[in-house]
């Protein structure tokens, strides 16, 4: 389609052409008839149409002829058309035109048909045209040709659009028709009233140079929707280019187009454009309009920074208009806030627009200068002699208002100005009232998303001479409105749409999602409908009389007041507190609930506990602008100034009080008054015996009330805390206890458990707390807590083991899992459990009587353990054994009969398995074996001796003697055990320790031997180290062993035991 010939000719001689055709017509046609000329002017496109109709000519001669013909015909046609229809000139009516033309010029019609049908013909003709390109007349013809093409395209478009909007066009045509008639009449009258000279001038002006005007005629008339691209239009391809180089590329293309114009390889594109820019989404691309993709490759080949071969894609027709969409930059208004981009020193600083030039391209702004008055004036030349690169800012000086004094001090010469007006010129910059004032191009201003903060703005406001704050709310509003920071609407807000299609709609927000607010329309025709509207064009709507609260954005934040006036989105309210009128934006308001204020005043915020005087404390229940309302411990409310508050009492998280029942109550517990109004609330403060409670059931005093701690009962303790156990867990605080768990019965459990906790998977009932009575299964345990899956709620809670009561899965009977372990485990379990308890019993007893002996002999491994009562792993076991045994003895005994042991028969075997088995185990082969073996190794001879002796104590009539005794008399046995418990009296080692005793013994024995013995002992005891232990063991072992093996038990049997075990035995026997 786009042949080079016409392009060249058309481009080159366009103005000539333009003048050529119409001018003769105008001139020749009607000298006097202004009206006709008028029409002629108006109808220029029609002329084109005519030409178009006549244009398809086979060759130059014909064309020329035809041209003449056409010229002749034109006036006639025109007048006729005037009569017919004034509107025919419009491109959109060209079809009609064509019809008329066709009627009139039948011979041409044929040709046109032919033209339409045979595209090839046309091309041929074109070729001829090209041959004749150097004839003047050809230019004219070309123009016609071109006109034809252009109009032809227009036709296509119209067809295209016609189908879509048949009515539109007809309507607009008719409307225009009327309008034009009237306009014409008016002009005629007006022109008639002017004198001839003026008329002539007007005419000359109007028609002197017509080319541009003609363009305008076209532009003004055709609405954009008729210009939408069609398939006939050239396509647009997006071509990747280097970011930031878009403009250069376009200019390069321009250059190429011009350079190759008129040559054989003209650039075959019709247009190219970019929509780059730092923030543009279209950066990195240029868009090239051409008929074929290959044209672009040709056109862009070799141009820098553009990559047609790597990345090029076609823009869809429907997207084409969007490529050229232009969004208006909002005009700057004086007073608006902007941010500076350009002077690097001030980049990002807030500035206020003072004035804007008429064309809106430059603004005079004021901002707070950053001057150092030459303090950091570094020399222009750096040390290395290179000029410092400008625009590389060091640390920039802080923002400070201009100080004349400082400027004068430093650079008196550079300072000129007028103290009266407080305007200065310093170093070429202007300063007024301390602000720097400068003309800045708007491209160097950040106009959008300024988001001036209140602090920044107030700096400007307080700069006023008289000290008054003259904030221009309107300007601020305009600035803020543009900001991306959207107003937060919450469901329930009454919202008005003030912009866009749904302008005027009022509704209640039901949903807010991102920028889209869903409105339930409450007024107007749409009432009841739900519509989605963008956040942007919305504002909150209030009515006069509404009680509102300022929620942000202004210094009136947190004021509460009544709306007295609404102008657009500015709302004036009368504050409750000070009865002054303030004006804020509706977006900063929210319907106020009457519950006291939120927020804070200075360091004091709502619900804080404050000290009013030495004896009075109070809880802040309302915060006003300058005062707070306090509910004191006596239940009185008083309004106080912050200055009257002595200090704020920090929240004591661990403050504890006792409720009426003596249960511990703490912060966040829910309690109820026992008497009186039986108010219930959550404890927010505990102060001595007063507690401040917060309830949501009343708004009085912000829901806060005060009562005495001993007048409330616990409803629910936070976190289901066991309210029965008053006071902190002292045992956990006592380091001694921690190190010496022997003294603490509670901790006995630990050594008992091997492998998985037996509690796991047990069915339990919760005995205390919020979940009391619920049944569950233990899923997991720690030492102290269990995680219980509740049957009822299907959730897992963590609860102290102490609060659990274990149930048999089937029978539901309360059981003891430890005991259960025994029975469940059958032999293994029984063996283990029993072993543990049983074994120790005798050991304890054995220990008690034999301690020194054992200690001496086993000093290697055992000694520290023994010594260690406090830390040794054994000790608890011992203690445990000794002490635990009792209950289990007692309790197990019957069970023994009932369950596992029942099978075996009497308790005795149980005792066998229990006490005896471990006993030998312990003594002979168990953990102690090494000790013994060690002993036996070195003292081979003695081992048997020991063996012999060992049984003695182990079996030591005592242990066995009373053990069965314990078995025999249940009750007595229970008390029996204590004996070892008594033995337990850690004293055991102590007893051992009462080295004096052995010392005493040893003394009588050989002196040399005796000496080492205690020494060895001392060492062993004192160091308590496993390492050191062996040594004394080695030394000590033999010595005392020698003594004890035979004599000790025998000789001391009574004597030695007496101190340790005597009381116990005394009890027993």
């Amino acid at each position: 389609m786009a042949s080079n010939s016409w392009q060249f000719a058309g481009d080159g001689d366009e103005s000539d052409d333009d003048n050529f055709n119409p001018a003769p017509a105008d001139m020749s046609d009607d000298e006097n008839n202004d009206n006709d000329e008028e029409h002629n002017h108006n109808h220029r496109p029609a002329g084109k149409t005519v030409r178009q109709a006549s244009s398809p000519v086979p060759d130059e001669e014909e064309e020329e002829e035809e041209h003449d013909e056409e010229e002749d015909a034109r006036p006639a046609k025109r007048s006729r058309r005037d009569d017919h229809d004034e509107d025919e000139d419009e491109e959109q009516d060209e079809e009609e035109n064509e019809e008329i033309d066709e009627e009139e010029e039948e011979e041409e019609e044929d040709e046109e048909d032919e033209d339409d049908v045979h595209g090839g013909n046309r091309r041929k003709r074109r070729n001829k045209d090209r041959r004749a390109a150097f004839f003047d007349i050809e230019a004219e013809v070309d123009d016609e040709d071109e006109g034809e093409d252009e109009v032809g395209d227009g036709e296509e478009i119209e067809d295209f659009i016609d189908n879509a909007h048949p009515d539109d066009i007809a309507d607009s045509g008719r409307l225009n028709d009327d309008r034009r008639h009237r306009e014409l009449d008016r002009r005629r009258e007006m022109e008639a009233s002017l004198d001839a000279e003026k008329q002539a001038e007007i005419l000359r002006e109007r028609y002197g140079k017509r080319a541009p005007a003609r363009g305008y005629g076209d532009m003004a008339i055709v609405p954009r929707r008729l210009l939408l691209p069609s398939v006939e239009d050239p396509s647009i391809w997006a071509v990747r280019c280097k970011e930031g180089k878009e403009r250069e590329v376009i200019f390069s293309i321009m250059r190429r187009i011009e350079e190759r114009m008129g040559t054989k390889n003209e650039v075959p594109i019709t247009a190219a454009f970019e929509r780059g820019g730092v923030n543009s989404v279209m950066k990195g691309y240029i868009y090239v309009e051409a008929q074929r993709q290959n044209d672009i490759l040709v056109a862009l080949d070799g141009i820098l920074n553009v990559y047609p071969r790597s990345n090029m894609h076609l823009v869809e027709i429907k997207d084409m208009p969007d490529l050229l969409r232009v969004i208006k930059t909002p005009n700057l208004e004086p007073g608006a806030w902007v941010r500076l981009k350009k002077p690097a020193k001030h980049a990002g600083d807030l500035a206020q627009v003072i004035d804007v030039t008429e064309n809106g391209l430059e603004a005079r702004v004021r901002f707070i200068p950053r001057l150092d008055y030459g303090v950091r004036d570094d020399p222009v030349f750096q040390a290395d002699g290179k000029r410092k690169r400008p625009g590389v800012p060091g640390p920039r000086p802080p923002q400070r208002l201009f100080s004349e004094a400082e400027a004068r001090k430093r650079h008196p010469r550079h300072l000129q100005g007028n103290p009266q007006t407080n305007s200065w010129n310093y170093n070429g910059d202007d300063f007024e009232n301390g602000f720097q004032v400068k003309d800045i191009k708007i491209q160097q201003l950040e106009v959008k998303n300024v988001n001036p903060s209140l602090e920044e703005v107030t700096k400007f406001a307080s700069g006023a001479e008289d000290g008054t704050e003259n904030l221009d709310l309107k300007a601020l509003a305009a600035t803020l409105k543009d900001s991306a920071k959207s107003v937060a609407y919450v469901p329930g807000d009454i919202i008005e749409v003030y912009e866009g299609e749904q302008q005027g709609v009022i509704g209640k927000a039901t949903n807010v999602q991102g920028d889209i607010v869903t409105l339930q329309v409450t007024e107007g025709d749409l009432a009841g409908r739900t519509i989605d509207v963008p956040n942007k064009g919305l504002r909150k709507r209030f009515r006069i009389g509404d009680h509102v609260k300022v929620i942000g954005g202004s210094r009136f934040r947190d004021e509460v007041g009544m709306v007295v006036k609404i102008v657009d989105d500015r709302v004036t309210l009368l504050t409750d507190q000070t009865n002054t009128e303030i004006t804020v934006f509706s977006k900063d308001l929210r319907e106020a609930s009457d519950i006291g204020g939120q927020g804070s005043l200075g360091q004091y915020s709502l619900l804080d506990l404050v000290q009013l005087d030495a004896t009075t404390v109070g809880c802040i229940v309302k915060v006003d602008r300058e005062s707070v309302v306090v509910l004191d411990q006596n239940g009185d409310t008083k309004q106080v100034q912050p200055s009257q508050i002595t200090n704020k009492l920090p929240k004591r998280k661990f403050a504890v009080a006792a409720d009426r029942n003596g249960s511990e109550i703490r912060l966040d517990d829910v309690v109820r008054e026992y008497g009186g109004q039986q108010r219930q609330g959550k404890i927010i403060h505990v102060h001595r015996s007063y507690i401040f409670l917060h309830t949501t059931t009343t708004n009085e005093n912000a829901g806060v009330f005060v009562t005495r701690a001993n007048g409330v009962t616990t409803v629910a303790a936070k976190g289901g805390r066991n309210t029965a156990t008053a006071g902190p867990d002292l045992s956990s605080m006592n380091p001694a206890l921690k190190r010496n768990p022997a003294a603490n019965g509670k901790q006995m459990a630990a050594p008992r458990t091997f492998g998985p906790d037996r509690a796991i998977n047990q069915t339990v009932v919760i005995r205390r707390g919020g979940h009391k009575g619920l049944l569950g299964i233990v899923k997991d345990t720690t030492d102290t807590h269990a995680r219980v899956e509740l049957h009822s709620k299907g959730k897992i809670i963590t609860i102290p083991k102490a609060d659990l009561s274990f149930k048999d899965k089937i029978t539901g009977k309360t059981i003891d899992i430890n005991q259960r372990g025994g029975s469940r485990g059958g032999f293994g379990g029984g063996g283990r459990g029993g072993g543990e308890f049983g074994s120790r019993t005798p050991m304890a007893s054995g220990g008690s009587d034999r301690t020194p002996a054992w200690g001496s002999s086993r000093s290697t491994a055992r000694t520290p353990a023994w010594n260690r009562d406090a830390g040794g792993s054994r000790t608890p076991a011992w203690n445990d054994g000794s002490r635990t045994v009792n209950p289990y003895d007692g309790s197990r005994t019957p069970y023994g009969g009932a369950t596992a042991y029942g099978g075996i028969g009497s308790r005795t075997p149980a005792w066998h398995s229990g006490s005896r088995t471990p006993a030998p185990d312990g003594f002979g082969h168990g953990s102690k074996t090494p000790a013994w073996s060690a002993g036996s190794d070195s003292w081979g001879s003695k081992t048997p001796g020991y063996g012999a002796s060992a049984p003695t104590p182990g079996a030591s009539g005592d242990a066995w003697g009373y053990t069965p005794g314990a078995g025999g008399g249940n009750s007595s046995s229970a008390y029996d055990a204590p004996t070892p418990g008594g033995g337990l009296s850690a004293p055991t080692p102590g007893a051992a320790l009462n080295a004096p005793t052995p010392g005493a013994y040893s003394a009588p024995t050989p002196a040399p031997v005796s000496a080492p013995t205690p020494g060895a002992w001392q060492g062993g005891w004192g160091s308590g180290d496993a390492v050191s232990a062996p040594t004394p063991g080695a030394l000590g072992a033999p010595t005392p062993a020698a003594y004890y093996s035979a004599p000790t038990p025998a000789a001391y049997g009574g004597a030695a035991e007496t101190p340790g075990g005597a009381p116990g035995y005394a009890d027993d026997d």
Binding site: F251, E259, E289, R325, N359, L361
Partner: protein, 120 residues
């Protein structure tokens, strides 16, 4: 030949006509005037007029190789203008008196700053 080409170094002097959006250097506006609007803007040789009727703030450069054929030109209402470099958007407003002149001349002024685009 390539009169419309502007070297990158010179692009800072570019201005766009607020009426037709053509982009040229200040010097060219001064020496030649606006090729499309000279009749009523009279930019040639009058810096004041150039200042008020052309703008340094413009975006989206378009090079129009063929104003008649190009859809871009048509859409931007540049068909009928000379070929050259145009801007998609020209910020700034024509002075009122110029506007009045335009109206008197029967020329419908289309603001190029985006304020009138989506009206139709």
């Amino acid at each position: 030949m390539s009169e419309n080409y502007v070297a990158p170094g010179q692009q800072r002097y570019l201005r766009a006509c607020m009426v037709c959006s053509i982009v040229m250097t200040y010097a060219r506006f001064r020496d030649e005037g606006c090729p499309n609007c000279e009749d009523f803007l009279h930019l040639q040789g009058s810096p004041d007029q150039i200042d008020s009727c052309t703008s340094q703030v413009f975006e989206g450069i378009i090079t129009i190789a063929n104003p008649q054929r190009s859809w871009v030109a048509k859409w931007q209402r540049l068909d009928g203008y000379v070929k050259g470099v145009y801007a998609t958007k020209v910020s700034g407003q024509l002075p009122d008196d110029v506007r009045t002149t335009l109206e008197d001349d029967g020329i419908q002024y289309i603001p190029r700053d985006g304020s009138a685009t989506e009206a139709d």
